[in-house]
């Protein structure tokens, strides 16, 4: 049976609070807290303090945060930071190259089919 002194007991407060202690140490600490008013009071304040931290309000960024930030970036980069706005949806390079191949093929077909006809003309 482990018997704790004040220092050993208080060293275990965080792990005990996070339920991150082996069973025998939990037992030892709980026994100490039951018999020691000093540590019991200390732990109560500890529990209340750490508990209050997680209960703090989540502070939201001000409503104008995004606009202010955009203004800051534009001012510092003189409006050159972001890539220029693309009109409409972005067309991937793959699609552009296929379309270009189609156009080249079409020109080629028109030219090669067009040539012989010219030759037959008187």
């Amino acid at each position: 049976m482990v018997v704790l002194d004040h220092v050993q007991a208080t060293e275990m407060f965080s792990a005990y609070w996070e339920k991150d202690l082996p069973a025998d140490q939990i037992r030892a600490l709980e026994e100490h807290l039951q018999s020691c008013v000093v540590c019991k009071k200390e732990y109560q304040t500890f529990e209340r303090t750490v508990g209050a931290l997680s209960g703090l309000h989540k502070m939201a960024a001000p409503a104008e945060f995004s606009d202010d930030l955009r203004g800051r970036i534009y001012k510092r980069s003189r409006g050159r930071f972001f890539s220029p706005k693309r009109t409409g949806a972005r067309v991937p390079w793959e699609v552009i190259s296929i379309v270009m191949l189609g156009v080249i093929l079409a020109i080629y077909v028109v030219l090669t089919l067009g040539e012989p006809q010219k030759l037959h003309l008187p």
Binding site: T10, E11, F13, S14, A15, E42, T45, F46, R48, T49, V50, A52, L53, S54, L56, H57, K58, M59, A60, A61, P62, F65, S66, D68, L69, R70, R72, I73, R76, F81, F82, S83, K85
Partner: protein
Amino acid sequence: MMSLKEHLLVRRLRERDEQAFKEAVRLYQHKVYNLVYRMVGNREEAEDVAQEVFVTVLKSIDTFRGDSKFSTWLYRIAANHTKNRMKYLGRRAYNSTSELTDATEREAQGKSDTAGFKTQIAAPDAVLEGLQMEQLVQEAIASLDEEHRVLVVLRDIESLSYEEIGAITGLNEGTVKSRLHRARMALKDYMAKRIEGD
């Protein structure tokens, strides 16, 4: 590791896509602001630092290698910026009375708006007590140095895992745990002094 969504967002940020940046701000502004606010304890300072965090994200997105989550990287930038600002400000406790009164009034007003006229007159004890506790806790946080403060905020306020805190701070789990324990004990002592002193 990054999710597909984060991966796509990062790719678009690298292309300096303004829409992607707006999306990143929309997703993370409140988390970043809350983290910074709880560390500096002042709204104006928090907004300024939080904005600088996003500016840095844009400027250094090319150096982000994707070996952690994007949010972890963002938190790391936020923590470093805040620590630097606190050093720059000479560790002044940023809990001016006006700041706290301001928050108290806003809070009381918010509650009375939903609960009706009566509660506004009655100044609900529970709300007031909660606010006093919140003020006290914020003051206690401000009494810590920046290295301890960041751990308290990441673990006890933001509820991040030890693994993530390690990735943000570059400290191993054992060091995080022992420093966090010191920080909590210091907070407890501060609270005990204040509660008994009142």
